[in-house]
Symmetry: C2
Subunit: 146 residues, 2 copies
């Protein structure tokens, strides 16, 4: 311990840092949904990604990245196992040869339909543990951060 890095400074960071607080909550929630969705071979992130694909118009990678607040190249990597398993299909955009359109396959939709009740039950359990918390406000705060 030195005079120029006292415990009080680190306590300030630990207590105040939103980055740290959000990361901890993110890890805990991801673990929780990972476990719940394990039977379907899906992680929480893969589930969210597939949910984001269920649109009337097949989105491009560049459309999804901002929605997930995720780097474009992360999305490229995240799609690989889903495409390999035949849950997601990538097709060249007919209007723009640079773009690729992403869509759930029949198998992907089947899996999502089966996983949905588990998501609902898991989220209900999370909600139940947070009685007294204003979750709509929390979601609003998180959207402001993203």
């Amino acid at each position: 311990m030195r005079d120029d890095l006292p415990l009080s400074v680190t306590h300030t960071v630990r207590d105040r840092c939103l980055c740290l607080h959000v990361q901890r909550a993110a890890r805990a929630l991801a673990r929780r949904f990972d476990h719940a969705l394990k039977g379907f071979g899906l992680t929480s992130g893969q589930f969210s990604l597939m949910i984001a694909l269920n649109r009337s118009e097949p989105p491009r990678i560049a459309d999804l990245a901002p929605f997930l607040a995720m780097d474009r190249t992360t999305l490229t990597a995240a799609l690989k196992p889903l495409v390999r398993r035949g849950l997601v299909a990538m097709a060249r955009d007919e209007a723009d040869a640079r773009s690729k359109r992403l869509a759930l396959t029949e198998a992907g939709r089947d899996l999502l339909v089966r996983a949905m009740p588990v998501w609902t039950a898991t989220h209900d359990a999370v909600d139940a543990e947070l009685v007294g918390h204003d979750l709509d406000r929390l979601r609003g705060d998180l959207r402001a951060l993203a």
Copy 2:
């Protein structure tokens, strides 16, 4: 689009899922602090980890993992680059040969001292963007999730 996976269901997940909301905020905040701390060669996670090490008693890996809501093995991996760079030292616990005690080195403390003003400025900027939001309540919500 099929009848058994309508858009309304996916909109429910997108709007309600705390896991998705927290992951998005986590990515955005991590990116932001990563950029801010880049000049020190530190990521936001490495900064948080080093802050957690600044204790009067050098903690063990098993002590830190719950504090960071992180898997124990993730911590083992995260320590490697910090130890390699001489910012963190691992020493066998004298009382228990299974345990290792983690401590910042002199170089590690130096780096943290220099990085601290950047953390403060970055967090002040985040706070400024969230005027009207109750950040203490937000931190409480996030602690409840972790």
